[in-house]
Symmetry: C2
């Protein structure tokens, strides 16, 4: 059995300069990535997986800190829709993140100190440009598909808009072509929670031994609510109390949902950098694919030959189905080959990460249809 089926972890130092949407540039960047499977001799079977806000390159390998299975180990693996026996799978940690790719926690080569808030503000397109540099490095001119959910879907759409000749197919799941006012508002709450933590110190906390974990935990808690559906929360927790008979009439976590949220917040701080959270949420808020194309989303896909598969979930209120419809209408207006499925799921936005058989069937069918041409 080929080890590569189970993921090979590497970091590439990519010489720049990488010009950024914000006007600056990065002289050189690190991109941490994993690959699964083997690149076909004609290099036709490469699939790029793009992760969401707090995801990483460990798409189907155990997370090095938490030890948990890869975040998409239901989607990526032998016999699964994205299959290392068939595909050469590349999963990168996005620029700005904290799992090995260059980000605010990285050392600034000029000062030898962490960038912190001196790291340039980046965009989704900058993340995609960095991924393109990695593909150059790997000698891959063209992707069979770019696949992602949530912020990963934004990257997938951006790939089609920025590098239309390098992408045969895009799968965008539970995503949007631009962040809404409510989306921005939730991200801003998270940023303010981090910045309100005195341990944040304007971002220069790396040498203090005290990260702004309390603020980051609150940010995660607020965001986490948006990942779940109201009905899902009710089904999972309702008003059930913790393992005691009655209310405490105090401020401990009385309800199971409180305990769950506190745990989600705290656990997150073990594996994520607060400054990266600021930078990535900023990139997401800046995302507006139409904006760079005269305000007309269809023009982002003009003359595209990329095939698109757009998937939404009926209980996702972070990026609800109407956001997907806007994408599909633009694709239709651009004459693109596009399929769209709204999947019924109780799990809200998080459905793209969970056991959602219809999602797997849709992605499998869409990829196989392209491969059989």
């Amino acid at each position: 059995m080929d080890d590569s089926r189970f993921g090979l972890a590497r970091t590439a130092r990519l010489s720049g300069p990488l010009a950024l949407d914000g006007g600056g540039s990065l002289a050189a960047i690190d991109i941490a990535y994993e690959t699964y499977g083997t690149l076909a001799p004609d290099k036709s079977n490469a699939i790029l997986i793009c992760h969401a806000l707090t995801g990483d390159q460990h798409v189907a390998s155990a997370h090095p800190i938490t030890g948990k299975p890869g975040w998409w180990s239901r989607m990526v693996g032998p016999g699964l829709p994205i299959d290392p026996d068939r595909h050469f799978i590349i999963s990168t940690n996005v620029l700005g993140s904290c799992m090995g790719s260059s980000g605010p926690a990285s050392l600034d080569p000029v000062t030898g100190l962490p960038y912190a808030m001196r790291f340039p503000v980046i965009t989704i397109r900058d993340m995609v440009r960095a991924q393109a540099l990695l593909l150059d490095h790997l000698g891959i001119a063209r992707l069979e598909a770019v696949v992602g959910g949530s912020m990963g879907g934004m990257q997938a759409l951006e790939w089609a808009a920025t590098f239309p000749d390098r992408v045969e197919a895009v799968v965008g799941i539970a995503t949007t072509a631009r962040h809404s006012a409510q989306n921005i508002a939730f991200n801003e709450v998270g940023r303010q929670a981090i910045m309100a933590d005195p341990n944040w110190r304007g971002g220069d906390y790396y040498a203090t031994g005290q990260a702004p974990t309390a603020g980051l935990a609150v940010a995660r808690m607020a965001a986490h609510i948006t990942y779940l559906s109201e009905a899902g929360l009710t089904g999972k927790f309702g008003r059930r109390l913790q393992a005691r008979e009655a209310k405490s009439f105090g401020f401990d976590a009385d309800f199971q949902v409180e305990s769950y949220l506190r745990h989600q917040g705290l656990a997150f701080t073990d594996r994520f950098d607060a400054n990266s959270y600021l930078y990535i949420t900023r990139a997401i808020d800046y995302f507006d694919l139409a904006e760079a194309h005269g305000g007309r989303l269809a023009d982002a896909f003009r003359d595209t030959r990329t095939r698109f598969c757009i998937v939404s979930f009926d209980t996702d209120w972070l990026y609800p189905t109407p956001e997907s419809r806007i994408i599909v209408h633009a694709l239709n207006a651009a004459g693109a080959e596009a399929s769209f499925v709204e999947i019924s799921s109780p799990y809200g936005h998080d459905a793209f990460l969970l056991d959602t058989p219809e999602l797997f069937r849709v992605v499998d069918g869409f990829l196989r249809a392209g491969e059989s041409r």
Copy 2:
């Protein structure tokens, strides 16, 4: 012209003990209140107004700190649905709050120091019991109506359940008979934001000169999002930038919605006590009207002769229309006289505070129907 039409502010010291749902009691309590209008000789025209989480007794008088008009000055006033020319209007600051009624910022008579987190955890029913003590003090046996939105609606429903013989009519607007898991989750984020602020100091910040304003501001920001509809936020702000031409590629408030939220958070800390925020959100989370009645909501209203008017807003996602339907179904099952209206409004939960003419017509009609019997 009678001055009382424009509000008379008072504070009543009510001798207890007030037995609390949590098992303890308060020896004596202060309840700050305002009255508008004149009590009829037969005392038949008293209307109690109940405020929401961060509201107060200044229902139709200028707020002493912000100078802004009363929070329901569109509903309460001469010629308005709740009219001091016709009604004797009582508006109290709830137990646990910070505008003159006893709460965590009040002095504990035993120690002479602020209660802080030694104030007992209270419930919506405790708030209502305190209001009943005030009515005793005012010599009012029976209310023409109890009217409230959001948490005010919870109090109104609780009045009907706890003191059925003292309430002729209840108007419950944009409210619920129990807090859902998602509702609890949002409140918990707010509490954690406050408690994560080092200035909170376990609640004992009153003597330090440094209140946990950063945490309280974050709590308010998170909650504020839930008061608005997604469509309302998009209509009001969309992705519009602040008064500059382009994105800053920094972390200042670039988008108008960010600036708005930051302002909402900061301004709130000028007028509200963080510990009160903890206590009142806890009371709301504990609210489950069915629970005290064997889990059957209809039993909370058994044999009631109170008339009910329940109003929801189609874009309210904090307490959406299905929550009102649950109340109405229970009222129907209890044989209560109940009317229900879902009003279409772009403003989400906040619609009950805003210029919503249909709401005013509904409340006016409902009150007049009772008065003409």
